[in-house]
C-alpha cells in the first residue's frame, strides 16, 4: 500500500527588511526548509491585514506564519509593535473559534538569522503537518 505523505501548504508573510532577507540568507547558506512554504513579501509585518490571513486559509493554506523584524528593529520604527498586538488578539480569536492555534504563528527573524528562519519553518511545518489539512477555515469551493 502506498502511503501519501501529507505535506502542508504554508504561507509565510515576510517583512521586506528583515525576514525576507533572512529567508534569502537561509537559501544562500543552503539550509533546508520545506518547499511548501510559500513566502509573500510585505513591506512590513504590520502590513498584514487579518483579511490576508483568512484569505490564505481560504485559498488552501494549512498554516500561516508572519515574520518580521525583532521588536525595536522595525524599519518603520514601530510597525512590528502593532503587529504584535494585532496578531496576539487575532490569533487568540481564531483559537476562540476553535481553529487550531498551531496553525498560526508570529516569529521575529532578522536579516542575519538565516538559520533561525529555516529552523522556524521546519518546526512550524512539522507542527502543521501533525494537525493535517485545514478543515476549519476552508472554503470548499476552492478545493474543487
Amino acid at each position: 500500500m502506498q502511503v501519501n505523505e501529507y505535506k502542508p501548504l504554508i504561507v509565510a508573510f515576510c517583512c521586506n527588511w528583515c525576514s525576507y532577507a533572512g529567508a534569502d540568507l537561509a537559501g544562500n547558506n543552503r539550509l533546508a526548509y520545506p518547499a511548501d512554504v510559500k513566502i509573500i513579501r510585505v513591506p512590513c509585518s504590520c502590513r498584514v491585514n487579518p483579511m490576508f490571513i483568512l484569505r490564505a486559509f481560504q485559498r488552501g493554506a494549512d498554516g500561516v506564519i508572519i515574520c518580521g523584524c525583532h521588536p525595536g528593529d522595525c524599519h518603520y520604527t514601530s510597525g512590528n509593535y502593532y503587529t504584535r498586538r494585532r496578531m496576539a488578539a487575532l490569533f487568540s480569536m481564531l483559537d476562540f473559534l476553535g481553529i487550531e492555534r498551531e496553525r498560526t504563528r508570529v516569529e521575529w527573524v532578522s536579516a542575519a538569522e538565516g538559520a533561525k528562519f529555516a529552523a522556524t519553518m521546519n518546526d512550524f511545518a512539522q507542527k502543521v503537518a501533525a494537525l493535517g489539512e485545514n478543515k476549519r477555515l476552508e472554503d470548499l469551493r476552492c478545493k474543487k
Partner: protein, 329 residues
C-alpha cells in the same frame, strides 16, 4: 422597571424645546404593540405627547444616529442616553464622528431592558398588552383568560443581565441618580467557552454562525461601525458578498467585523440585540475585550473621550503572540 417615567422625559424635553436649548429630540417612538419601539426625531412637545414612549423596551442605542442626525439638523439635538449608551457616545466623540456642540445629552437611569423574545418564550405568541408593575410585567394574551405575571429579572435582555455600568460617562444634564460601574459577570460566558476543547468551541461557533443570513444588521446597528464605506460593501475588496456561501464566509465576516471594532467596542450589545437569528455576536467582541484587558491592562472603550484604543497603541514590553497560549498553560 424603569425609575424614570415617560412623563418626566417629556417634561424635560418640552422645557428644553421651549427655552430654545434644543431644536429637536431624538427619542423612542411608539409602535403597534407596546414593545416595538422605533427611534424617532420629535420636533415639538405635542409630537412627543402623542408619539413618545419610554418603557422597558427602549433598548436602542441612539449614539450612532447622532453621526447622521447632527449633520442634517439645525441647532442642538436632545438625546436621552442610558448609561451604556454614554460609552458609545464618548467613543464616537473620540473618533471625531460628530460635533459635540450640536448635541444636548441628557443622561437617564436604566434598570435594564426587557427582551420581548424572552417574554414570548414564557407566554407564547399573541400578546395583547404588557404593563409594568413594580418588578413584574403583567402580560395579557389572546389565548390566556388570566393575565400572566412575569418577574422582570427573568426576561432581562442578555446584555442587561451582565450590565457593565450604571454610571453615565457623558452628559450635559443628568436625570435621576448616577450609578456605579458594576462588577459584572460579562466575561463568564467567554471564559466558559475558553475552557472548552477546541473541538467543542468549533462546534459551538459552527452551529451559531451557520445561521447567519448576512443581513448586516449587526454592522449597521453597531455604534463602532461608522465607516462611510465598509470593506464588505466594496466590490473591489474581493470580500463583498451578500450572503455567506459557506461556513468560511460566515466566519470571515464575523471575525473581521469583530476585529475591526476590537479596542473600540464599548460592549453595548446592539449586535446581539438586532440579530434576527439570535447569534450571540457579543461574545466575539467580549473575547477581544477580555483578551485586551488581560494582555495590555484593563481598558474600557468610551470610558473617557480621547483615550487611545489598545490596538492602535503599544509598549515595547508587550506580550508576544506565542505567549498568549503558553500563559494559559
Amino acid at each position: 422597571m424603569q425609575k424614570i417615567t415617560r412623563e418626566q422625559l417629556i417634561e424635560k424635553a418640552s422645557e428644553l424645546l421651549a427655552n430654545g436649548t434644543v431644536s429637536c429630540v431624538l427619542g423612542w417612538g411608539a409602535g403597534e404593540f407596546g414593545y416595538d419601539v422605533t427611534p424617532t426625531v420629535f420636533k415639538t412637545a405635542e409630537e412627543m405627547k402623542t408619539g413618545f414612549v419610554f418603557s422597558d423596551f427602549c433598548g436602542a442605542n441612539f449614539s450612532k444616529y447622532l453621526v447622521a442626525k447632527t449633520q442634517k439638523t439645525e441647532g442642538k439635538i436632545l438625546v436621552f442616553l442610558k448609561p451604556c449608551d454614554t460609552y458609545s457616545f464618548n467613543q464616537l466623540l473620540t473618533e471625531h464622528r460628530f460635533d459635540r456642540e450640536k448635541v444636548y445629552a441628557v443622561g437617564i437611569p436604566c434598570e435594564g431592558m426587557a427582551d420581548i423574545s424572552k417574554i414570548k418564550a414564557i407566554c407564547g405568541e399573541g400578546i395583547s398588552s404588557i404593563t409594568a408593575e413594580g418588578d413584574t410585567f403583567i402580560v395579557t394574551t389572546l389565548y390566556d383568560d388570566e393575565p400572566i405575571a412575569i418577574e422582570a429579572s427573568a426576561v432581562l435582555a442578555e446584555r442587561c443581565v451582565n450590565c457593565k455600568s450604571k454610571k453615565h460617562v457623558a452628559y450635559d444634564e443628568l436625570m435621576g441618580e448616577d450609578g456605579d460601574v458594576l462588577d459584572s459577570g460579562r466575561f463568564d460566558e467567554v471564559a466558559r467557552l475558553e475552557a472548552m476543547t477546541p473541538d467543542e468551541r468549533f462546534a459551538f461557533w459552527q452551529n451559531e454562525l451557520s445561521r447567519c443570513i448576512r443581513c448586516n444588521a449587526c454592522r449597521d446597528a453597531c455604534p463602532a461601525c461608522t465607516c462611510e464605506k465598509c470593506v464588505f460593501d466594496n466590490p473591489k475588496s474581493g470580500v463583498e458578498n451578500k450572503s455567506p456561501a459557506n461556513s468560511f464566509e460566515e466566519k470571515l465576516f464575523h471575525i473581521i467585523r469583530a476585529f475591526h471594532v476590537a479596542g473600540r467596542c464599548t460592549d453595548c450589545g446592539e449586535c446581539s440585540r438586532v440579530c434576527p437569528q439570535n447569534i450571540p455576536l457579543h461574545l466575539l467582541n467580549r473575547k477581544f475585550i477580555k483578551d485586551i484587558n488581560e494582555f495590555y491592562g484593563d481598558y474600557q472603550a468610551g470610558a473617557e473621550v480621547g483615550s487611545r484604543a489598545p490596538l492602535v497603541n503599544y509598549t515595547t514590553a508587550d506580550l508576544e503572540p506565542g505567549e498568549v497560549f503558553n500563559r494559559e498553560g
